[in-house]
């Protein structure tokens, strides 16, 4: 048993932290958020230079074949640093490509930082149930025609290519008959409405109107895309848990610092027991969340899909519970300052809140945990 990070993991953690502290400060991030583009080419170039785009890509495609535990380290730093670049979206997209197989050239482009991806999965009616797919893919000659609408696709407006879930058979809600396609974002019939999200990122609503794609656009087998989608989304959820832990660490550190410096009644407010115990609870919440994010990172690549689902959902639940407590109480302990937009703490709170709602909220994952055979079998 060993909970330490390897020297290599510590190295890229430190490199990322140096980059964020120096070139991705709160002020610089604010300028990026309010820029026309909403992301920074310069920051992207640095992430590429630091090997971050190559990290999750297999070695054969010019990557470092990084594990989910490597990504746990990366995502914690990005959560701490409130990165708003389309990095997570691209890594999640690359996971679809890895799981589907035979997309070597594209993975090489991801590794080199030349290709940005986004996963267009959710729809206006689907909430967190990604098997609720009204978008259709009709076979047409040697290709497919896609029609439908995808909602709140994170960094969908910045992506070069989209992973799109569509129904080629079966009823609207169900895991049978789901097909996955890789679609050029500028294909004829694709319209993207790009907007800001409240946590400083970008997302897009995307319409597909008679979008014609060749058979080679199909990821995996026609009609049996669900297992890939389910596994890729679990990978994404595990990464979001890691990002949340980094954000909670930053938030707890900022709150602790505030308790030590803010003076009222002639003493630092951290001398008041009501606030001390709140802070102790925030600390314990973050530690329990860290344990589950770690477990999820270790188990998300498990060949046993049942174990993977069970543990990732458990992690998303526990992290979701923790981030609400830590986020809300951090704002409370910062007092009036906590409800302004001026402190990084407020932005960590907003990001955490949105992480909970991304790739399945706490209730969704709690229900999924209960629905796993192991929940009843164990009894």
């Amino acid at each position: 048993m060993d909970f330490n990070y390897t020297p290599e993991q510590q190295q890229f953690r430190d490199a990322l932290r140096r980059f964020i502290d120096k070139d991705y400060t709160f002020e610089q991030r604010n300028r990026i958020i309010h820029s026309e583009q909403g992301i920074s080419d310069q920051a992207w170039a640095t992430l590429v230079e630091l090997g971050m785009t190559a990290l999750p890509v297999p070695e054969e495609q010019g990557g470092f074949n990084g594990s989910a535990v490597d990504m746990l380290v990366v995502m914690q730093e990005l959560g701490r640093g409130l990165l708003v670049e389309p990095y997570f979206a691209t890594v999640l997209g690359a996971q679809f490509l890895k799981l589907a197989g035979s997309r070597e050239t594209l993975l090489e482009q991801v590794a080199a930082g030349d290709l940005k991806l986004a996963a267009a999965l959710g729809e206006p009616q689907s909430r967190h149930d990604l098997s609720d797919i009204a978008t259709t893919a009709r076979k047409d000659g040697d290709g497919y025609v896609i029609n439908g609408a995808k909602a709140v696709v994170v960094h969908g407006g910045q992506a070069d290519k989209l992973i799109v879930s569509a129904r080629s058979a079966g009823s609207q809600r169900g895991t049978e008959g789901v097909s996955l396609f890789l679609v050029d974002a500028d294909s004829t019939g694709v319209t993207r409405r790009d907007y800001r999200t409240i946590d400083g990122q970008r997302a897009a609503d995307i319409r597909f109107e008679n979008v014609r794609v060749p058979a080679s656009a199909l990821l995996g087998q026609e009609g049996s895309g669900w297992d890939i989608l389910d596994a890729a989304v679990d990978y994404g959820a595990a990464l979001l848990c890691a990002e949340a832990v980094g954000a909670m660490d930053a938030l707890n550190a900022a709150t602790l610092e505030y308790l030590k410096t803010r003076q009222q009644f002639g003493v630092p407010i951290g001398k008041f027991q009501a606030l001390q115990h709140r802070m102790a609870d925030m600390f314990m919440q973050a530690e329990q969340a860290r344990s589950m994010a770690t477990l999820a990172a270790v188990k998300v690549s498990s060949q046993d899909a049942r174990e993977r689902r069970r543990i990732v959902s458990a992690a998303k639940v526990r992290v979701g519970q923790a981030l609400k407590y830590v986020g809300q109480q951090a704002v409370q302990l910062h007092g009036g300052m906590g409800v302004t937009n001026e402190l990084p703490a407020a932005h960590h709170f907003k990001r955490l809140t949105m992480i909970e709602l991304t790739l399945g909220d706490t209730d969704h994952h709690l229900a999924r945990f209960v629905a796993q055979p192991d929940f009843r079998k164990a009894a």
């Binding site: 909970f3 746990l72 344990s291 477990l295 519970q321």
Partner: protein, 398 residues
């Protein structure tokens, strides 16, 4: 990052499992698994079986007859015992007074007491809390005055667990009332059979006689029963605190009790279906199960940081808080699961005086007493509020 036990640890676990399989008496196991009350004889019987194997002193160095196990091995032992349902090894001798004797006692004390503790020849109890000294332990008032070769002890201890069985008590006593409160305390070992000691039961919510008041009326204690130096008792008490809290999270037991809860909730019906299929109840159980999963990893993280140090650091306070929250939620959901069958109260059944409980639902009978009894967990061993003070001061630096 590697969450797996080493091959060596796994082999050790096999050895432990084989031992428990061969040596845990079935009648004791059934009592534990069915939440019945354990007698003194039950506990001593199990202790002596483990002692014969040489596995009582799991945190002790080999030179004193301990196992010399690593923190991970201790954890495995505790987990395996909890999984199958062994009676407890009482902590008062083995985990509490023994480390203090080893660290601060003299040779004669070590030679006399340590082997007797390993073999359960004496039943020990703890004389810390007093009516006016709970969380503020250092304010204790029980006086010990030196008269020649003896101390004369007067005062009262309370919440003394199973003092009705005890042969020995380790006490914090005030030897100097004229200095700062922490500086006038001494650590004294007292024979419970000495004239002047009276034990009076305190009956808890579940009507069990688990704790007591202990009165000292001019009790004559030989001076050689003093541990270390006079007026240094507070230092020894703080040292003890670090040893008291191993396995405080009790994850192994929580995992076993979760399975029990699920079994009960499978049997109970709601709307014609097993209660465990009810989405509202299932969500509560799932949330608890996830908390236990998280706690298990947190415990392992603390253990792996502990390394060769003796006892965990202030992180133990987190384990105590989270562990007791889990234990209390478990008992809360058990009571909820059996619904109206939580009401019938049959202490004679719990004592093993008849085979089946008054209603015939033997799973349900112990659950309300269990729930009421377990409200103690967030109060004893340093209340959870005191644990948060420790986290605040030692980890957060506030």
């Amino acid at each position: 990052m590697d969450l797996n036990y080493t091959a060596e640890d796994l082999a050790f676990r096999d050895t432990v499992r084989a031992f428990l399989d061969a040596n845990l008496p079935k009648d004791l196991q059934q009592k534990v698994l069915n939440h019945k009350r354990l007698s003194k004889e039950d506990i001593v019987r199990w202790h002596k079986i483990v002692a014969k194997q040489g596995w009582v002193g799991t945190g002790w160095p080999v030179e004193y007859g301990g196992t010399g196990w690593s923190p991970v091995q201790r954890h495995i032992w505790e987990e395996e015992c909890a999984a199958v349902g062994t009676p407890p090894i009482m902590p008062f001798g083995v985990n509490m007074v023994a480390p203090v004797i080893m660290a601060f006692g003299n040779e004669a004390q070590k030679r006399h007491y340590l082997p007797r503790i390993l073999n359960c020849d004496d039943w020990w109890c703890q004389g810390y809390s007093e009516p006016g000294s709970g969380s503020d332990l250092a304010s204790l008032k029980t006086r010990a005055e030196r008269q020649g070769g003896h101390y004369i002890v007067n005062g009262q201890k309370t919440w003394t667990t199973l003092a009705q069985h005890a042969d020995m008590i380790f006490c914090l006593v005030r030897t100097d009332p004229n200095v700062r409160k922490q500086e006038g305390i001494s650590f004294l070992l007292i024979d419970m059979h000495t004239p002047g000691i009276t034990v009076r039961p305190i009956i808890m919510l579940d009507e069990e006689h688990e704790v007591n008041e202990v009165f000292f009326d001019n009790v004559k204690v030989p001076a050689e029963n003093l541990i270390g130096e006079e007026n240094k008792g507070w230092t020894y008490a703080k040292y003890l605190l670090g040893h008291e809290r191993t396995n405080i999270a009790a994850v192994g037991r929580a995992k076993r009790e979760l399975q029990f809860l699920k079994r009960v909730a499978e049997k109970q019906q709601k709307n014609g279906k097993p209660l465990l299929e009810d989405p509202v109840f299932a969500a509560k159980v799932a949330s608890l199960e996830i908390e236990i999963m998280a706690l298990e990893i947190t415990v392992l993280r603390v253990l792996s940081q502990e390394g060769s140090k003796r006892g965990p650091g202030p992180e133990a306070s987190m384990l105590k808080v989270k562990g007791t929250e889990v234990q209390q939620t478990l008992t809360e959901l058990m009571v909820e699961a059996v619904g109206p069958y939580a009401l019938p109260f049959d202490p004679a059944y719990l004592e093993g005086e008849h085979e089946h409980s008054v209603t015939g639902d033997d799973d349900a009978a112990p659950l309300a007493p269990y729930y009421f009894n377990y409200r103690k967990t967030s109060i004893y061993g340093g209340s959870n509020e005191i644990q948060k003070n420790i986290i605040t001061q030692m980890i957060l630096g506030l």
